[in-house]
């Protein structure tokens, strides 16, 4: 079973990996976007880590709702509301339970990803974070490691696609050949989940 501590570890592992990869995320956002994805998420997850330190919610749902709110209040851009909604909705779906199973997390995460798709209007294949999140959720039934691999493959698979949502869509066909920054950061989020699980 996964407790609040596990979810805190997930968030701090995400914060650490976003810190490490911030330059790469921004660089990916340069040729097809506005060169801010790395600093956006860095700002957001630094705030998340600080808030969790300070408030230390006692339930998995509480951790993710707090994290999502922090992202919404500190990131801005497209990724702030989208990642914020992802974590908030996932957290809400987890309810008040003090511990949750991997299956419950998978189900809740699917609700979160659905909310992101509703909010942003992106479908798989549009070359967005969705392309990493959906396969990850699908694979989560097997293992965290499988989810990580699926997310990473999903991110890489955005490279030949033409972006149809977000800023990258503005460059039209010129987005082809570039890996989507949001899909890349989504893979980091899922990798951090595996890391929190010790996998």
């Amino acid at each position: 079973m996964l407790d609040a501590d596990f979810f805190r570890r997930w968030m701090t592992a995400t914060a650490a990996s976003v810190d490490r990869e911030a330059e790469r995320l921004t660089a990916l956002d340069s040729p097809i976007g506005d060169a801010d994805h790395g600093s956006n998420l860095q700002r957001g997850f630094t705030a998340v880590a600080a808030a969790l330190d300070k408030e230390a919610p006692g339930t998995p749902g509480g951790v993710l709702i707090l994290a999502g709110r922090q992202l919404i209040s500190t990131v801005g851009g497209a990724s702030g509301p989208l990642y914020g909604t992802l974590l908030r909705r996932t957290g809400k779906a987890l309810g008040d339970a003090g511990e949750v199973s991997a299956e419950q997390l998978a189900e809740a995460l699917r609700a979160g990803v659905d909310a992101v798709m509703t909010l942003g209007g992106a479908a798989p294949g549009d070359a967005t974070m969705i392309d990493a999140l959906v396969p990850a959720v699908d694979a989560l039934g097997d293992s965290f490691t499988a989810a990580r691999t699926a997310a990473e493959e999903g991110a890489v698979a955005t490279t030949p696609l033409q972006a149809r949502k977000g800023r990258a869509s503005y460059v039209g066909e010129r987005s082809i050949g570039h890996q989507d920054p949001g899909a890349t950061s989504a893979a980091l989020l899922i990798a951090a989940l595996a890391e929190a699980a010790g996998e």
Partner: protein
């Protein structure tokens, strides 16, 4: 760059804005710029905002006759809902608040969230989306047309409508009318450098240019080898006029992206006028300058806004902001 560290660029600019403009209330910590006399009794409040790096848009357009408040985000990053909520609360006199939102996923999502939160607090909110950029043609398969230069016209004209005491629905309708009658097209001669990245956001060798750029340092739709000012004017006017098909006189905005000298911008304006005349498009008013910028990008954009008598009267109405001022 003339900065301290990338992390404090926006806060530093807000402190400097406060020092230069005592007629504005600048909340540096919460990143909200409000005209000092807000809320103005009986007047609709106008709130806009977006990523920083487009100055004077939006903070430089706060003041009588234009915006009531602006929310600057990080560079090229839309602000967060908390900012818009705070701005709405500061400017609502009970007559309601209009959010003027440039059409970018981030701006739309954050303003949407703010609108929900504001309505929860009993503030009546209307929203108008600015989406004037004709370079984004195929909006079914994109995030929709971007909001660029027309934002200035929407903010100016809706600001005048609010100053006249029009009710929220009217101000919103006027703003929407301005947007629907505006189209823009931008070109870049160089990429810009964001403080966080520190180097150009994309590679544009001298002797080449990008057609159909936005205002966030993203490349355009197409790369070409260098064209003359006259050829660029032809391309820009054609793109805008074909889409807008104006029948009435137009407001013309010849806008610099930041690093193009005024000397060149005025020369470009001459070419734009030559082409407009050839096409028989009557010109009502002209504005030339760096108004909706993209940091230190070299290049320009053209915006045309078709106006009827009411819109022209509202455009001509007094405005008193750091970035745009006449009649007072």
């Amino acid at each position: 760059m003339l900065i301290n560290v990338p992390e404090t660029v926006v806060a530093d600019a807000l402190r400097g804005l406060a020092a230069a403009h005592p007629e504005l209330t600048v909340d540096v910590e919460n990143r909200v710029i409000v005209r000092r006399d807000a809320p103005v009794a009986g007047q609709v409040g106008l709130v806009s905002g977006g990523g920083s790096g487009h100055e004077p848009l939006h903070g430089g357009f706060v003041g009588p006759g234009m915006l009531s408040a602006a929310c600057p985000g990080e560079v090229f990053t839309s602000p967060v809902p908390d900012q818009m909520l705070r701005a709405a609360a500061a400017v609502d006199s009970g007559a309601g608040v209009l959010f003027i939102v440039k059409n970018y996923t981030g701006d739309v999502l954050n303003f949407d969230m703010a609108a929900e939160m504001a309505e929860d607090e009993g503030i009546q909110v209307a929203k108008v989306l600015v989406n004037d950029d004709v370079a984004v043609t195929d909006s079914l398969y994109t995030a929709g047309r971007r909001g660029t230069g027309a934002t200035l016209f929407v903010e100016k004209i809706a600001g005048a409508a609010a100053a006249e005491g029009m009710p929220l629905e009217r101000v919103e309708a006027v703003a929407r009318q301005v947007n629907e009658n505006s189209r823009s097209f931008g070109i870049a001669l160089s990429a810009c450098s964001t403080p966080a990245k520190g180097s150009p956001t994309f590679d544009l060798p001298p002797g080449e240019l990008e057609l159909g750029i936005g205002i966030h340092g993203e490349p355009g739709r197409e790369r070409r080898s260098m064209m003359t000012s006259g050829e660029i004017a032809e391309a820009a006017v054609e793109a805008v006029v074909e889409d807008l098909q104006p029948r009435n006189p137009v407001l013309v905005l010849v806008n610099g992206m930041g690093a193009t000298p005024l000397l060149e911008l005025y020369g470009f304006n001459a070419e734009v006028h030559r082409v407009l005349e050839q096409r028989g498009v009557p010109v009502a008013r002209v504005l030339v300058g760096n108004y909706v910028t993209s940091l230190d990008m070299a290049g320009a954009s053209l915006t045309l806004c078709q106006v009827d008598e009411e819109l022209l009267r509202l455009y001509d109405a007094p405005v008193k902001t750091p970035g745009l001022r006449w009649g007072v």
